[in-house]
Symmetry: C2
Subunit: 216 residues, 2 copies
């Protein structure tokens, strides 16, 4: 069965998945890199990093350099593909360079559709303006029976959760208070009733929270 999975999505203790004031220089706004420092400290990210629970969770996402054999397509929001206003730049191809770490078809949910962009390494960005359910149908067809990964940002993950479309959700709660930005959890009252929820704190200070869809 083709699952919808979210991996390594970091939020602050007060629930923000990105900060305020996003721009081409600050993809996460005033949050800077603080939501992701836990990952930079792992062996997944760099040689000599730690090999503990943070690393184990980070690796579930699959390799950055190669295609994850279990993942057939990716979905992301417009706010993750670029800073506000990227759609006015016809040359914008995302912030990941010529060879993005996806290596599969990536569906960007946006009102500003444009022709697909084929990148190096197997990544192709497709731009679609559709509901979460429709987008998932499209991505699943492209995935050919493999899983679909949902990258972010917080608005897209929230919309997919609200629509009941997510099978596995891995959230990393970082012990900082951003105070402002985009919240992940708004409007998701009772979400836990449909999932097995586990929390695992790490010596790095973050807590990994996983939501695994209950059978049946």
């Amino acid at each position: 069965m083709s699952l919808v999975r979210v991996h390594n999505f970091s939020i602050s203790l007060d629930g923000f998945g990105t900060g305020e004031g996003q721009s081409s220089e600050a993809h996460f706004g005033h949050a800077g890199q603080r939501l992701h420092e836990w990952m930079f400290g792992t062996r997944f990210w760099q040689a000599g990093g730690s090999g503990g629970v943070d690393d184990a969770f980070a690796r579930q996402r699959g390799s950055l350099a190669e295609r994850d054999p279990a993942i057939g397509a990716e979905i992301m929001g417009a706010g993750m593909f670029g800073h506000p206003g990227w759609h006015e730049d016809p040359e914008w191809k995302g912030a990941w360079g010529a060879n993005p770490p996806y290596h599969i078809p990536v569906y960007v949910l946006t009102q500003h559709t444009r022709p697909s962009i084929e990148m190096e390494g197997g990544t192709t960005f497709h731009f679609i303006d559709s509901s979460p359910a429709e987008a998932l149908k499209t991505a699943r067809e492209a995935a050919g029976g493999l899983d679909v990964r949902l990258s972010g940002g917080p608005t897209v993950i929230r919309d997919f959760l609200a629509a009941g479309l997510v099978d596995y959700l891995h959230i990393v709660v970082v012990p900082i208070l951003l105070g402002r930005g985009v919240r992940l959890w708004d409007g998701l009252e009772g979400l836990e009733e449909h999932y097995q929820v586990e929390a695992t704190s790490s010596p790095s200070g973050v807590t990994h929270v996983t939501f695994t869809r209950s059978a049946g």
Copy 2:
């Protein structure tokens, strides 16, 4: 030195310290008892309960039956002393029965002041209408050099945190999404800069997060 301490304050994963719709029958509104089930499962709460990390944290608060020798006074908000409208009931003496689990002077922050109420077991409720700093000054004098405990609810804890008056904060993050209620963290951007923050997840599913004021 007399410290200001918060113990066992439970919030949902989406940051609510109490639910919506508080009443005399539902002190935490639609949250019911879900924010506190972790504590009911401990030996602190009942014989035969668990003796792990939840129990260790619960006991830091001190005994419910006797006065904690380290705590000299307590501060709580009007919303914790009673459901909305309690001030219209001249007979309301809190929801803890004749012998409340404080055994010390308790300062209730409220615009609706009334004469102090002496209860059994050493608890006296005093009603004051003052700022966090003024309330703390009053409570500290009553505490005679001992610590001051801040009970809740979320609004009062948030106000004391914003005023920089809290030395130790123990939060219990419960893996449920309440969706609505009163948030703890609003307006506290950067709070972590003044504290050592640690997170410890428990087999019960909750995560204990402690903020310990940094020296100097």
